[in-house]
Symmetry: C2
Subunit: 253 residues, 2 copies
């Protein structure tokens, strides 16, 4: 039963508990100069400035004017710090859907909100995900997404599956877009030149007889035209929502 709140659940790391506001400072001992949220904010500042690879324990400590090992009093491991970074990195959830929105408008808004969060903080895409979300804001996002489906006839499990489908799509699309941006920066090429260059490379490598369909795509100049990345995002999202719509219609009828 979900109602029974027993204290003896799976162990939650202390740093995560403090993110939920469940931890009060013990009366004994020196006043902490560092705090979990201060450490996480510093780590986010480093990631914003120099990317996720720059986030090392020593670098974060330097940002705070503290010693490397001081951080380990507050976070159990680097992975724990990363999990908390993701929580504040996504920022607050977009809020429940406006009452006049139907499920489709609501989920579209929700997907675009995540899209925007990932665009602003592309390092979020590089954090290896180790498990289902357990931090406050992450669950807030999930809540807001579920609410969009409140008025549909989907089963609860189906609502969750639909959300996973969409959030997975948003994440994947953002990853691909980001790879192009990072690739062009690494190669020192203009961003709108990298896909054409990729197309030329593949055209040079493949034998048209063995790769006819791929050759046809390249010949059509698919990779040459630099269309708006937002159009690509909208395309996939609409396909998925079309599929969801078919299901909702079936369940309603």
């Amino acid at each position: 039963m979900a109602e029974t709140k027993d204290d003896s659940g799976p162990a939650l790391p202390p740093a995560i508990e403090s993110a939920w506001g469940l931890r009060e400072r013990p009366p004994r001992g020196p006043r902490p100069g560092l705090s979990v949220s201060g450490i996480v904010d510093a780590a986010v500042r480093v990631a914003d400035a120099d990317g996720l690879t720059a986030v090392s324990m020593s670098r974060v400590a330097k940002e705070l004017g503290a010693a490397t090992m001081a951080l380990y009093r507050h976070v159990g491991s680097k992975d724990e710090l990363l999990m908390l970074m993701v929580d504040v990195g996504y920022g607050p959830s977009p809020g429940p859907p406006p009452p006049q929105d139907d499920w489709r408008a609501g989920l579209t808004r929700w997907a675009w909100a995540e899209h925007e969060a990932l665009r602003q903080r592309s390092w979020l895409l590089h954090v290896p995900i180790t498990g289902p979300p357990i931090t406050p804001q992450q669950l807030g996002w999930m809540e807001d997404g579920l609410r969009c489906l409140d008025d549909t006839a989907l089963a609860e499990g189906e609502k969750m599956s639909v959300l996973l489908l969409i959030t997975g799509y948003v994440r994947n699309e953002a990853t691909l877009t980001n790879q192009i941006a990072e690739g062009s920066r690494a190669a020192g090429v203009e961003p709108d030149e990298i896909m054409p260059a990729y197309g030329r490379l593949v055209a040079r490598l493949i034998d048209p007889a063995r790769f006819p369909a791929l050759h046809r795509v390249l010949s059509a100049g698919v990779l040459n035209q630099d269309d708006d990345p937002d159009d690509e995002f909208t395309f996939g999202l609409d396909r998925i929502l079309d599929g969801v719509e078919a299901l909702i219609r079936r369940r309603a009828g």
Copy 2:
């Protein structure tokens, strides 16, 4: 134009060229005791046995009875080795669709083939992707996927978008499934107990007044029933294909 094969394209790393069979051994110098494919195979053996984190240059060298730095004569960097590992890790593409299959049956088969490859080699999910595919077998997978859409009225660019949509979905779904498996192994819990445990944890954390929709999902016991992961995979795939079908119908009509 995709037809023009000019030699002066973007620089391809030597190890990738040898994967395409474009490199012959220079006549001078001692006979190489190591080869690119031998190194990649050894790295794949290590990853199969002990996971991707165990793949270090020294570990791979030990596997071959060679010195660490010997590898760098054949691969330019660890990232390059990883890219080649992915190429052989996926294995050969599933082949063109049987003639009697329509596009939907073909893409379903294609998606399941990738699903199966990722299930057998879950370390593939942990390799950070740095760019679009340029290795032989990767492009073979793309070719086979494109062929499934040969008989549809989709534009070439739309075919590619559909493929990216599906492969992204397969990857995402495999990642989630794999997280459960790895999480349960790390926590020493039975795999079918980890989602219920997660459900109890979230139920303990959230306030039903602030998270009503999420609370409803938990109360419905969505996380308690351990349904077949394949059903979850089929659910999302069918939603996406339903959406693609709607588009194909529109283009055909």
